[in-house]
């Protein structure tokens, strides 16, 4: 019955039938002699040739059965080759790439700074090892399996597919590769966290995980998945039925979903302002990866992965937008009512301005994401809780993002205005506004990005605003004090030579002393944290008070000194007042009362103060002298 010409081939096959002999079960063909491999493959080819040349009914049952034995054998060989090249190779290249990307403790410490540069390193790294290939600028494919083994795998795949064993081939391939990919994900610290787990974690913990995820995702997409894709192509390309694609998807689908699950969970977590920047990091990383994701998952069958990545990206964008508007609302509604002691910078101002500076660091992304204009007062025109502001004057010249920043600053001021009303002392309220708006201006000037976005027009408005606050402060404190030094009401009508009412004059001096002492006592505890601003305001005060006092003293001193106890009325020299002004806005109570000429102790303290002043802000003293005045209008009190 058996056609004699196929017996030789059949013999080879039967010799390796693992169901028949112990030896055939224990040994593998492809781990052995090359000649034996060739002999076996040739035998399979011969059987297949015999099968195809004969019609179905013709082909002998022994040939068919030998071919089936061969296929079972080849499946085992195929699996065995795959299995023997899973961990070691993957170990080698994974550590290779991880050395760059993360790893050492030292790196962990420096990562904040090093992160961006190391990313670049990674992207621009030259493939110095022979097993690195670069198809696009960022994809770096490595050899997961050495080329001779790949060749063997392809030889087997070819024959299995030709004999109609495609599904087995895919199944074996995917099962083995999948566990290899799974092991790699584990190495890359891609954790198996459920969405529920992630919602429960502290944000700080998640920040670390996000950083780690970004690095892992880059390696996964650009190295791991890309290399898997290439391996599939090397083994299965051109063998029909888009086997390469099927193998790739079977291998990678679940790991890819697992990887993206983390980003997805973050994208749907509850929004709060502190999350913005890490969400933007995640968004940027994913957005950077998109071209690579599209190229690695370009086939129709991997569409779902592409779609998921796009969905996550748009959800992250939505989250960023949501957080920004949430932030705006939080700034507007921030409810603390307890006035900051000394009228210094409110923590809200610092927080908001630091936040805005960070926003400007992310401006490239945010300019793309923030497309709708802020919902300003116009929409809520009837709402007294929202500032009434028309942003249209800025619209033409700047981005929507910048409009949001201007709007945030406006609502910050609006909120601060509200807070300033809680100061009992109107002067302190003005000082508080001056300090805070000045701080806002300084922050904007301190960042080139921010300054460019806010623009000179709005900056000028802000500068005007704190100058006005300074003027208002001076008016509300000093008009009253200077009022004591006016001439009106001192001259007694009818007399011509010494027509000055002594009692009125004495009252004036007493009133002035009391007021100045009171102002000195309270306002020394007030605080202007910015040295230059402090200097300038003091100078501005001196410029008003000192000349007025000097001239008042010059005109009326004799009237007092001619009377009894002149020291009760002329308590202070001009120098005393000049020195006293130096105590203003330092933020601590003066230890003693206003200094007098005779008080040596205080003289010493004055020297110390001057020394301190010079050491702290020599430049500011100089700038003051060079008349770069912040308050040109202050003299028009």
């Amino acid at each position: 019955m058996e056609p004699p010409e196929s017996t030789a081939a059949e013999k080879v096959i039967l010799q390796w039938d693992s169901t028949a002999s112990e030896d055939a079960r224990e040994r593998m063909i492809f781990t052995g002699d090359r000649q034996e491999i060739e002999r076996y493959l040739d035998a399979v080819d011969e059987l297949q040739k015999a099968m195809s040349s004969a019609s179905l009914s013709d082909s002998s049952s022994t040939t068919t059965s030998a071919l089936q034995i061969a296929m079972a054998r080849l499946e085992d060989e195929f699996r065995n080759i795959l299995l023997s090249h899973t961990s070691p190779v993957e170990d080698e290249w994974l550590t290779e790439s991880t050395q760059l990307e993360f790893a050492s403790q030292e790196f962990e410490l420096k990562e904040e700074i090093a992160e961006s540069s190391s990313d670049k390193q990674f992207e621009h790294q030259e493939s110095n090892s022979s097993s690195c290939y670069k198809t696009t600028s960022s994809i770096r494919e490595v050899d997961l399996i050495p080329s001779d083994a790949v060749y063997d795998l392809r030889c087997i795949a070819e024959r299995m597919i030709a004999a109609g064993y495609l599904r087995e081939c895919i199944q074996v391939y995917a099962s083995v590769r999948k566990s290899a990919v799974d092991a790699s994900l584990k190495k890359l610290n891609v954790e198996k966290l459920s969405i529920g787990d992630i919602q429960r974690l502290e944000w700080e913990t998640l920040e670390t995980k996000i950083r780690r995820w970004i690095r892992a995702a880059k390696i996964c997409v650009r190295v791991l998945f890309a290399s898997e894709r290439r391996l599939c192509e090397e083994i299965f390309e051109g063998l029909g039925n888009s086997a390469d694609d099927a193998c790739f998807m079977e291998t990678i689908k679940s790991p890819a979903i697992q990887l993206f699950n983390f980003a997805e969970a973050i994208s749907i977590s509850r929004r709060s302002p502190e999350k913005l920047f890490k969400i933007l990091d995640l968004h940027d990383a994913l957005s950077d990866l998109m071209p690579d994701i599209e190229s690695v998952f370009e086939s129709k069958s991997s569409e779902s992965i592409r779609v998921q990545a796009v969905e996550i990206l748009s959800r992250l964008a939505e989250a960023a937008r949501g957080i920004l508007s949430e932030f705006e609302n939080a700034v507007l509604r921030e409810p603390s009512k307890v006035p900051v002691p000394g009228g210094t910078i409110h923590p809200l101002t610092r927080y908001v301005m630091n936040y805005i500076s960070l926003i400007s660091d992310y401006k490239q992304t945010l300019i793309e994401l923030i497309v709708s204009k802020p919902s300003t007062g116009s929409r809520y025109s009837s709402d007294p809780n929202v500032p009434d502001m028309d942003l249209s004057e800025f619209e033409g010249q700047t981005s929507t993002l910048a409009l949001h920043l201007i709007w945030i600053i406006a609502i910050l001021q609006f909120n601060l205005d509200g807070k300033s009303k809680h100061y009992k002392d109107a002067s302190l309220a003005h000082l508080f506004m001056m300090n805070n708006v000045h701080y806002i201006v300084q922050k904007i000037k301190g960042s080139a990005e921010l300054r460019e976005m806010i623009g000179d027009d709005y900056l000028r408005k802000l500068t005007g605003k704190f100058r006005l606050a300074a003027t208002n402060y001076q008016r509300s404190t000093w008009v009253r004090v200077l009022h004591c030094l006016r001439d009106e009401g001192l001259h007694v009508s009818g007399s011509f030579s010494s027509g000055v009412s002594k009692s009125a004059l004495r009252e004036r001096f007493k009133a002035f002393n009391a007021m100045f002492e009171e102002v000195h006592r309270t306002q020394a505890t007030w605080l202007i944290p910015d040295t230059q601003l402090r200097e300038e305001l003091r100078i501005s005060i001196s410029e008003k008070v000192i000349p007025a006092y000097r001239s008042f003293l010059g005109r009326f001193r004799s009237h007092i000194e001619s009377g009894r106890h002149p020291e009760n009325y002329i308590k202070y020299s001009v120098e005393d007042l000049e020195n006293a002004v130096l105590d203003f806005f330092e933020g601590y109570p003066v230890s003693q009362h206003l200094r007098r000429r005779s008080d040596i102790l205080i003289e010493t303290r004055y020297d110390m103060l001057m020394a301190d002043l010079i050491s702290r802000g020599q430049t500011s003293v100089l700038t003051v002298q060079s008349s770069l005045r912040l308050f040109p209008n202050a003299s028009t009190l």
């Binding site: 089936q68 085992d76 299995l83 199944q171 529920g196 979903i257 749907i268 609302n329």
Partner: protein, 434 residues
């Protein structure tokens, strides 16, 4: 609410739901009307799903009672045949309970109810109501539950992947068994694929948090290997890469069963004054979410499902819930049977696939060439049924998976919308964390 008579079958109870609903004092007329409508729609939609079941019960009974696979296959093919529907002019035959098509209807039902729920809850409502009882307590709870539902969706998506994997193994067997003449090699090939399939089913169903189970698995494969007659080789390394499992997709400790249990914990029907207000739609939606997730977990392989049947109960005295209760009872019974038998999941196609695979493996074990005529007919019937199951899976699983994803998206979106409303309230007072 009027006391309802809950005696008798759930079909009787359904008729009660068509009676008037209790007046709702705390809402205005329009709202009250919407609430009533919502309840009625929920009852109607789930009654449709139940009706599907009740009309096909007889078929299912014949199917499971008789071991005659050819008749089962034949029955399935007739119901599926398009000509049958054309002749009757009626609506297409309702799908079998727990079949892929049934689940697609279930998810559609979910999406409809969800949309209506959101309209009832959010549309035109003063946000401040969310900060007052009972919503201030119920809404966070609802959101928490929806997060859990998202994880179930992901687990189910993954489970469907696994079912698709099994389907591919079944297709190998199909291809092998359709060869003519059928030789020993092809039978062995089919047996091997089906053994891998059955091993993987057992593996994933039995999998739980304890780690000792790898040993159990190797033991099982070894015994399967012997049954196959060494076709797969009994080298452990060679078979190790042969199967796929759910285990890696979530942490080892994650349990679908616990997840359902957590979802249904503190799910209490509103009482007293609350039972007529906004607490009611929230409760209804919660119940629907839990029911849908529970049914999915029961049907599709998911990690760790011990004690699933007892983890979800609905109070029996609620009108709108009667069809859900009916479904829950039926599926719960099936689950208890499943726990005894140890099947991979209640998905109708999956149960049948498992049974056919067992029969085919038995057939392969006793296969001698040439086949007797009777054997040949038996085989042909089995192959036809397996082919029919594979076809249903091929056509249905992809869309089902997409629908699960759609449910996922919907939950995410609704959650975001509700959070937006909540934020509008909290914004008024929330401090900035500087």
């Amino acid at each position: 609410m009027p006391a309802t008579d809950n005696q008798g079958s759930f079909l009787n109870r359904i008729s009660i739901r068509r009676n008037q609903f209790a007046p709702i004092e705390t809402c205005n007329d329009q709202e009250q009307e919407n609430l009533e409508l919502f309840q009625r729609h929920v009852a109607d939609r789930f009654a449709d799903l139940l009706y599907i079941h009740s009309t096909t019960t007889t078929a299912a009974v014949t199917n499971s009672n008789s071991n005659d696979h050819s008749s089962a296959a034949a029955a399935a093919t007739t119901t599926d045949s398009p000509s049958a529907t054309h002749e009757t002019h009626g609506p297409p035959p309702p799908p079998q309970l727990l079949s892929i098509s049934w689940f697609r209807n279930l998810l559609d039902t979910y999406l409809c109810c969800e949309a209506e729920f959101k309209a009832v809850l959010v549309s035109g409502r003063d946000p401040s109501q969310f900060s007052r009882p009972p919503l201030d307590r119920l809404i966070p709870d609802f959101l928490e539950r929806s997060i859990k539902a998202l994880d179930i969706c992901n687990a189910v998506t993954h489970g469907v992947d696994l079912v698709q994997h099994w389907q591919k193994l079944a297709q190998i067997a199909l291809m092998a068994l359709r060869q003519t003449p059928l030789g020993e090699g092809q039978v062995r090939r089919a047996g091997k694929a089906l053994n891998t399939l059955l091993t993987s089913m057992v593996f994933d169903d039995k999998e739980n948090a304890n780690n000792n189970f790898h040993g159990r698995w190797t033991e099982r494969t070894r015994s399967f290997g012997r049954r196959v007659g060494g076709g797969g080789g009994n080298n452990k390394d060679r078979t190790a890469g042969n199967f796929r499992s759910l285990s890696w997709s979530v942490a080892k400790s994650w349990s679908a069963s616990k997840q359902i249990q957590n979802m249904s914990a503190n799910l209490a029907a509103p009482r007293g004054g609350e039972s007529t207000g906004l607490a009611l739609p929230v409760y209804i939606m919660n119940t629907i979410v839990v029911f849908v997730m529970w049914a999915l977990v029961a049907a599709i392989p998911c990690q760790e499902r011990n004690g699933l049947a007892t983890h979800f109960q609905v109070p029996r005295n609620l009108n709108w819930a009667q069809p859900i209760i009916g479904l829950q009872e039926k599926i719960g019974e099936d689950w208890k049977k499943k726990e005894k038998k140890g099947t991979a999941g209640l998905l109708e196609e999956l149960q049948r696939m498992e049974k056919v695979a067992h029969s085919l493996v038995e057939f392969a074990d006793t296969f001698v060439f040439p086949m007797e005529e009777e054997k040949e007919a038996e085989l042909a019937a089995l192959v036809a049924e397996l082919a029919e199951i594979c076809k249903k899976m091929e056509e249905g699983l992809g869309p089902l998976q997409q629908q699960v994803r759609e449910v996922f998206h919907r939950i995410v979106r609704s959650r975001a919308e509700i959070i937006d409303v909540l934020d509008q309230i909290t914004k008024m007072s929330a401090p900035v964390p500087y």
